[in-house]
Every structure is written in structure tokens, then in C-alpha cells.
Symmetry: C2
Subunit: 278 residues, 2 copies
């Protein structure tokens, strides 16, 4: 029965059943199914276990019982696969915010009073414009310290000082920092103090990255652990990133742009229908 969990940053903490429960609730598992999994975790895993091992154990259990839910459970790792070597994180974030009605651009240049800056994401709707910095980490447990927020804020202030900026735009311009991992408490304190919007994997609870993805079911194709990087990159080149993107494309087109055959494509579409239909 697990008592101590070793996290990816090598720190240890007591095993917290509540955390596992919540991550299983997120994927809409019933209470009964959750309890079954928890008791298997208790009976099969040793006293000291890594989070990696714990995750892999539950993932395999889910795969054998409710495969489509296993993939949803795989979301955190899936985001790590969007890294520099795959589909850039900032592009994913821009696409995600389009789902929320934003006009979204990524990797564009914006003028400040003093300098021109390359901005990761630029999100605009009728009431808000976000100047966003995206901090992608491919190691779990990497926290973003206050420096990231500080430099993003100074850049934002300079952009706001651009005399060419329209007054109505200036009023709704806001700084944003998004990450796939976490922020230090200092980074959060500074951001609250200066109204800087932060989005991290689990922060803020009601609008965290995982919540934003879940709410629109904007799952990246990287949740499918059986799709290799070559196939994913081929699809990404055609901006086929989310399950919805894949489902909405003609199977023959998908065949042409990936190395998948038609049978595999239909199987994937079936899995997607199950996940999105949940």
C-alpha cells in the first residue's frame, strides 16, 4: 500500500488518495469504478512509489477497463508531447483560446515604446486583449519562478506605452503567462498584486489549463500513446491537433497526410467519438 510518493522533481510526499480520486473524477469515472482502482492501487503497489509508476499503473488499469477514459487520464503527459520537438505549445494555446471565442495569434511581433517584442500568444475578444508569454517545460515538476512573471510584466508595460496603440485597446490590454507546469507562490503573489493573468496546469482551479481543455474537450491527439511522433508531426503540419480536428477531416485526406491506413483511421475516429461523447 503506497505511503510515500516520489515526485518527478525527486521530492517525497505522503501518498494522498484524495489527489488520485480527483484526477479520476475529472475523467468522469463513477464512484464505484474509482473505489475499485483505489483498492487495486492499495493492494498492488509498494509503500514507496514514484508518481510515474503510480500513473502508469492506473493508466494500464483504465486501458483494460475503459480505454477511452484512459486517454483522457493521459492528458498531462499529452501536453508534454506538445513541446519544442512536437507541436509548439504556444500554437496549441492559441487554438484552445479560439474555442473560447478569442481571435488568437501566436509568435507575432508587437511594438512597445522602446522595443519590438516577439509575443508567444495574442488573444483578443470584445472586452479583453491578452499579451501572453508561454512557458513550456518538458520536465514535470519544473516551476516557473517570479522572474518569468516580472519580465513578462515589464514587456507588457512597454507595449502599453506604445504611442501608436489605440486608446480603446490600451484600456483592455492585459498581461498573461501560461505554463504546462506550475508557478512558485512568489510568482502567484506578484501576479495577483498587479492583475497579471496566470494559467498553469492546475491554476487557477476554476480556469486552469486542464479545466480549460476539459470544458471544451479540446484534447490534443497526443493523448493517444500509440500515435508516434512521426505521425503526430505529419498531422500537426496540417493543423490537425485536437481530437475534433481529426474527427472532422475526411479519412482519405488523413490517410494522405499521415502514415495511417484507413482501418487505423476509422478505429481512431471511433475512440474519439467515445471520448467526445462522454
Amino acid at each position: 500500500m503506497p505511503k510515500i510518493v516520489i515526485k518527478s522533481d525527486k521530492t517525497k510526499e505522503p501518498y494522498n488518495e484524495e489527489k488520485v480520486k480527483n484526477s479520476l473524477k475529472r475523467i468522469n469515472l463513477s464512484d464505484e469504478e474509482i473505489n475499485q482502482i483505489l483498492s487495486l492501487v492499495n493492494s498492488k503497489l509498494p509503500e514507496v512509489v514514484t508518481t510515474k509508476k503510480l500513473f502508469a499503473f492506473i493508466f494500464q488499469l483504465l486501458k483494460a477497463r475503459k480505454e477511452h477514459l484512459a486517454y483522457k487520464f493521459n492528458l498531462k503527459s499529452a501536453i508534454f508531447r506538445l513541446g519544442p520537438s512536437g507541436y509548439p505549445f504556444e500554437k496549441f494555446i492559441a487554438h484552445l483560446f479560439k474555442e473560447y471565442g478569442f481571435e488568437a495569434k501566436h509568435n507575432l511581433f508587437l511594438k512597445g515604446k522602446c522595443l519590438i517584442y516577439e509575443i508567444d500568444v495574442y488573444l483578443k475578444n470584445h472586452s479583453e486583449i491578452f499579451i501572453g508569454e508561454c512557458k513550456f517545460h518538458n520536465q514535470k515538476g519544473r516551476k516557473n519562478d517570479v522572474k518569468v512573471v516580472l519580465y513578462s510584466y515589464a514587456r507588457f508595460l512597454d507595449i502599453k506605452e506604445n504611442p501608436q496603440l489605440k486608446e480603446e485597446e490600451k484600456k483592455i490590454l492585459k498581461p498573461l503567462v501560461v505554463t504546462n507546469t506550475r508557478f512558485t507562490s512568489e510568482a502567484i503573489d506578484f501576479s495577483e498584486c498587479y492583475s497579471i493573468k496566470l494559467i498553469a496546469w492546475n491554476y487557477p482551479p476554476e480556469n486552469s489549463l486542464v479545466t480549460l481543455i476539459e470544458r471544451k474537450k479540446y484534447y490534443p491527439l497526443t493523448i493517444f500513446d500509440f500515435l508516434n511522433n512521426k505521425i503526430l508531426n505529419s498531422l500537426f503540419q496540417y493543423d490537425i491537433v485536437s481530437l475534433g480536428d481529426f474527427l472532422n477531416k475526411e479519412s482519405n485526406f488523413l490517410k494522405k497526410v499521415s502514415n495511417l491506413d484507413l482501418r487505423e483511421i476509422e478505429e481512431i475516429k471511433e475512440k474519439i467519438r467515445l471520448i467526445l461523447g462522454e
Copy 2:
């Protein structure tokens, strides 16, 4: 005869005799002596040469001819020896600014409106207070990009917003970033625009780090390549950092706190007198 120079960051540039001339002028070598060295460089070194090799060649020539000037020529490398493993750079900077009449503190905590920050150096005189960030690099050729200046600036702005700060202090509070290497042109442009004081090895020309050191002859003991790290660290522990510090201490005290014998100490003091007497 050198035509191409390979720098420490692996980039190449045409050999520039003027640069070598200037670095020899800095140490007060006569025009005749400079010309002798330049012609030896031309006759003995190959067409493609690393800056490291070029420096070592001149250093050896100087050592054989005017040993005390060789050590002054060694200043840039000496600063690299003040790094994290030796005498911290921020402590050296604080001591240097004391020579300029500043009340100087290093590694202290300052309150802002939103956070408490650890500040590398705090320099105060009757007309200016600098909140300083020190960026030490132990690799030559490492440039400091605009992000360093941006986060230092945001932090400075927050400290300035601290309601407990006295009005007269607020008026003379200024941001400062010091490095032993260089800044990117973006970092310099941003700093000029927002009146952030930058000090780098060669920047700004009239008040660069090398000029500030030369003007007060505040040479660190690390210019002596024959002093090993163990000896240096022993001396540093007693805040004996500069040639002046060493010269002003009793030889018996120096013997006690280092592994040097009295003969060695007297020899070093003699070298110091030559350098400071120049």
C-alpha cells in the same frame, strides 16, 4: 600573421590590431613596447588563432618583460575567477563602489509593494540609490539578453511602490544591472529608454567595469595567476580581495590566514607596489 580570430563563443572575426593595441594601452605600455609586441604577434602566431591563444601569447611576453603589467593585462580572466566558486561577484561590486564613496550592501532583502526581493547590491550616496542585479557568467562570450533587464526593471518598479519608502529615497532610486560579460543591443536599447544603468565589461565606455576598476586600481587578487583557489578563498574569507587590501594587512596576519610563507607574502607585496605605483 593572425588574420582570423576565433572567439570564446566560437564565432570568428577578422583580427583587429587596434583592439590589441587598446588593451595594451589600458595597462600603460609605451608605444614602443606595444609595437614590439604587435610585431611578435604578427611573426609568431598563425593565420587563424583563438582569442585564448592570442591572450596567452601576449600574457607570456609581458610576464617576461614587465611582469607587473602582465597581471594588469590579466584583469578580465581575474574577474572570471571571482565567480560562484570563489569570491562572489556581487560582493566585489559592492566593495568596488565603496571606493567611489557609496554606502554599499550586498545580498540584502528589500520590500516592494507586492513582494520581498533579494537584491544583489544596494548602493547609496547623497544623490543616488541603485537597486542592482549582478549577472556573473563564468563563460566568456555569454551575453545578457533583454529579459535580465526586464525583470530587474519590474522588480525595481515594485520596490519603488513600497509605501514605507521615504519620498526623498523614492526620488533618487534607480535600477542597475552589472555583468562581467556583455549585454545584447536590445538590452542596451531598453535600458537607455527607461534610464536603467548598465555596467558591463566594456560598457558604457567611460564607466565600464574595466574602467571603474582601473580608475581606482581596485584590482582583485585573482589577477595573480600563481595564487591558487585555496589561497584566494582563505584570503576572501577575511575580505582581503583587492591588491590594496593585501598590501595594508600585516604580513604575519596574512601568513596566518593563508598558506603563504613570509617570503612569498613579501614578494607579492613587492609586485603590488609596482602595480599600484604605475
